[in-house]
């Protein structure tokens, strides 16, 4: 059972990491709009041209 002493702290670290990552994502607008960004990769993004005057 001594392996628990190693595995449990590791799992807790993972947990803390997951919570931190999620908070970061929420604070960086990742969950504000769940519908729109799914489309963005569909366009070829690097072909942006300057509009004609």
């Amino acid at each position: 059972m001594n392996i628990l002493l190693l595995l449990i702290p590791i799992s807790l670290l993972f947990l803390a990491g997951a919570v931190w990552a999620f908070f970061w994502a929420v604070n960086h607008d990742q969950f504000d709009d769940l519908d729109t960004p799914g489309l963005l990769p569909l366009g070829d993004s690097d072909k942006r041209e300057e509009p004609r005057p």
Binding site: L4, V19, T36, L39, L40, G43, R48, E49
Partner: protein
């Protein structure tokens, strides 16, 4: 390409390298309406909608019209993002809003609006106060709390499982101790962080002197946590960190979903803002026009409205006569003729013009604002089911608390050392695991089954109301009948053939986009290979042209036959005439939806009383009602009349289902027990409806009701099972007969049973039964007489 405008837009999109739009879009976009963007140069108007971010940066929130599919979002972001000086563009497709930040030195608001307009979208800058981050913060906060509770619950459950298993096999005391402390470690953030809204809510309601829903919840959380903490410190008895975390998680999940629905509903109600124009042309004493923001209008001002323009505020007509489309108030598509001194209402569209009106009511006093207020009030009155549910939950928790206290009291008399453990055992084993799953499992399954049939449930409460409804109140125009008009009758004069008359009329009608003209040109492709010249459309009157040298006019009677008098019976007909006299008279009428008969027959077969309430004329409503064989109908009903009828029905004990599609239905839909909107109807109705029929088909209502009833039956079975489980488990647990691992096993199996039972909803046998009951009476439906 339907017109020059589309071609120009397509070329412009191509030039910008945005042709991907056409690959992505799934629905054609509407034509943009011409808007006056330059008025936003006026600093006074702009001040309300622009926020200064400093360093020359400006921010505004635009409500964008005509976002049909998500491809639009892509186009808007690209089109605006490609402009020099635009710092960032964020489009939210669901809320139909764009948040734009730009450098004021390089680009102006009118230019932004102009660009959007060229791409095909009408945009309305919203009040800058809408920019505040209150809502965003609320939703982010809720999400974080939910996640912490979810993670905490998972971990606590894991340690708890180890403890339960340890009761079967042998686990040494030190490991047991460690697992208890770990449970405490993961449950503490859940209670102290995630559950804070419950504690805050409980405190608030206690301060206000009443016992709200949050009080028993907060008490339960606190009691279980404190008890487990005490046990962990003492190192004896059971800990219940898993239960308390799960409890918090389930409650938060419910509240999160409710918050999302609330935000979504508020987005849509803002659509009222786009029904009136932001500007009006005020006529000064010297006859010149001054463009002013709509909030600057005062009672008594004289305002000019151009043809096709929208009336900015309620006012009386100062010019001789005009025709307006009051679909907003009456829901009927046919324009109404107004004469001098009659009242025009804000939001109605002028069919011919220009006209001059004197403003009588502005702002919150207008009829439009009245409709908005009706919707708002009906919304405020709505959440009865929700309140009932919360009350039931509060009662359940209160009973559990009483039982816990009772258990503690009894055990104190018998054996004080076991009092605390037994009390907590009751509190936890009754912690409504199966109860919590009984309703959501069935509802989630039902929502999925309905969505597959293109019935979208906006408010989950609606499933119960749909299953229980006894009356169905239909709107007529656009709901039972199709929105476009169709040719109903042709009458020819002087022995002209029907085919010839229709051919000539269609040749002229092709030139006009008026709904009546479209009805005629749909009925016949028009003559081919004939010389058509001197085509002219006369707004509000008709079309004139020379066909094979013959001067023809198609339109209103007095226009078509030029001054000659005509029998009164042709007042409402469209006439085709040449210089010698009338050739034919056409009458257009509404066409019943193909599935209206079947849908109503199926509802009646389920025992639902079907009613029609319409703002239309009595003769038209009665003929539709007779053809559909409905139980009762009312004509010439304004929204207030419909609402009154609805209230009357409900006072008589009926549960009413309202089906509609127009803006005028919004108060009725909001006031009904359950409201269904057709998705092709005005979007605003969807805002106040509980269910949306995305396929625009009426015959899914009856099967949807069958599914709803099945769902309710299964929810009841689940609840009975949960009650049975709790009633048998709680006393045994209170008496100390059930070891923890058995309780855990029993709880999981009971939850599993609830979920498996819910999976029976929406399986094909339910639907087949509904389809069978639909097909036979549909065949008996009379053919429309025409």
């Amino acid at each position: 390409m339907c017109c020059q405008g589309c071609r120009a837009a397509a070329e412009w999109i191509e030039q910008l390298g945005l042709a991907g739009y056409y690959d992505l879009r799934t629905a054609p976009a509407p034509k943009p309406t011409d808007q006056d963007h330059d008025s936003w140069r006026n600093a006074d108007s702009a001040r309300h909608v622009i926020r200064d971010l400093g360093a020359g940066r400006r921010e505004t929130l635009l409500l964008i019209d005509g976002v049909r599919c998500t491809a639009c979002v892509w186009l808007i972001e690209r089109a605006l993002g490609a402009m020099p000086g635009v710092v960032s563009v964020q489009v939210n497709a669901v809320a139909r809003r764009a948040r734009v930040i730009w450098q004021e030195s390089k680009v102006t608001l009118p230019q932004l609006l102009q660009t959007l307009s060229r791409a095909g979208y009408g945009a309305l800058p919203l009040d800058a106060r809408g920019l505040d981050d209150l809502r965003r913060n609320e939703s982010r906060d809720a999400l974080k709390r939910l996640l912490v509770a979810g993670f905490g619950a998972m971990q606590a459950m894991m340690y708890a499982t180890a403890i339960y298993l340890g009761a079967v096999e042998t686990l040494d005391a030190t490991t047991l101790e460690l697992l208890r402390w770990l449970g405490l470690l993961v449950a503490t953030p859940v209670v102290l962080y995630s559950a804070r809204p419950f504690f805050a809510g409980a405190l608030r309601s206690l301060k206000a002197g009443r016992v709200g829903m949050d009080v028993p919840v907060a008490l339960a959380i606190f009691a279980v946590y404190a008890a487990s903490l005490l046990e962990a410190v003492r190192g004896t008895g059971e800990v219940y960190f898993d239960s308390v975390s799960m409890f918090v998680f389930f409650l938060l999940a419910g509240r999160f979903l409710e918050m999302r629905a609330r935000h979504h509903a508020r987005d849509l109600t803002d659509a009222f803002a786009s029904l009136t124009p932001p500007f009006a042309d005020r006529e000064l004493d010297d006859g010149t026009l001054q463009r002013v923001g709509i909030h600057e209008l005062r009672v008594g001002d004289r305002v000019r409205v151009a043809e096709g323009g929208i009336v900015p505020a309620d006012g009386v007509l100062l010019t001789e006569r005009c025709r307006v489309d009051e679909a907003l108030l009456s829901g009927e598509s046919a324009p109404v003729t107004k004469r001098r001194a009659e009242l025009l209402i804000a939001g109605s569209v002028l069919e011919d013009g220009p006209v001059l009106i004197r403003i009588e009511r502005v702002g919150a006093d207008t009829a439009l604002a009245g409709i908005a207020a009706l919707v708002g009030r009906a919304h405020a009155e709505r959440p009865r089911l929700q309140v009932a549910g919360e009350l039931a939950a509060a009662r359940f928790v209160a009973r559990v608390l009483t039982l816990t206290a009772l258990t503690a009291a009894v055990w104190t008399v018998i054996d004080p050392s076991r009092a605390f453990a037994a009390a907590v055992a009751v509190l936890v084993i009754s912690c409504p695991c199966a109860f919590a799953l009984a309703v959501p499992a069935a509802l989630t399954r039902a929502l999925g089954a309905l969505a597959r049939r293109r019935v979208l449930v906006v408010k989950p409460d609606a499933i119960q109301a749909l299953a229980e409804c006894t009356h169905a109140l239909f709107d007529k125009t656009g709901t039972l009948t199709e929105t476009s008009l169709s040719l109903a009758d042709i009458q020819t004069f002087n022995g002209v053939g029907r085919e010839e008359a229709l051919g000539l009329a269609a040749t002229l009608a092709r030139e006009s986009r008026h709904p009546v003209a479209r009805a005629i040109s749909t009925a016949h492709p028009g003559m081919s290979g004939v010389a058509v010249s001197e085509v002219a459309t006369h707004a509000g009157l008709g079309v004139s042209a020379r066909v094979e040298g013959r001067a023809l006019r198609l339109g209103r009677g007095d226009f078509a036959i030029h001054g000659a008098t005509l029998a009164v019976e042709y007042d409402d007909a469209v006439l085709l005439a040449d210089d010698k006299g009338p050739i034919a008279a056409f009458r257009v009428g509404e066409r019943l939806r193909a599935d209206a008969c079947a849908a109503i027959a199926a509802l009646q077969a389920q025992g639902v009383t079907v009613l029609i309430a319409s703002g239309d004329a009595e003769s038209r409503v009665s003929s539709v009602a007779a053809r559909l064989n409905v139980d009762a109908w009312r004509a010439r009903a304004l929204p207030a009349d419909k609402l009154a009828w609805l209230t009357e029905l409900r006072a008589g004990g009926a549960r009413v289902l309202a089906v509609g599609d127009g803006v005028n239905d919004a108060p009725v839909l909001a006031g009904a027990d359950v409201a269904i909107a057709l998705a092709e109807g005005a979007e605003l109705t969807q805002a106040s409806s509980d269910i949306v029929l995305a396929g625009g088909r009426l015959d899914v209502i009856a099967p949807a009701r069958a599914i709803a009833q099945r769902t309710l039956a299964i929810v009841r079975q689940n609840q009975r099972w949960a009650l049975f489980y709790n009633l048998s488990a709680v006393p045994l647990a209170a008496l100390g007969f059930i070891p923890p691992w058995l309780a855990a096993l029993g709880m999981s199996l009971s939850s599993l049973g609830v979920i498996l039972n819910a999976l029976r909803i929406g399986r094909d046998d339910t639907v087949q039964r509904a389809t069978q009951s639909r097909s036979s009476p549909a065949a008996a439906c009379p053919r429309p007489a025409s």
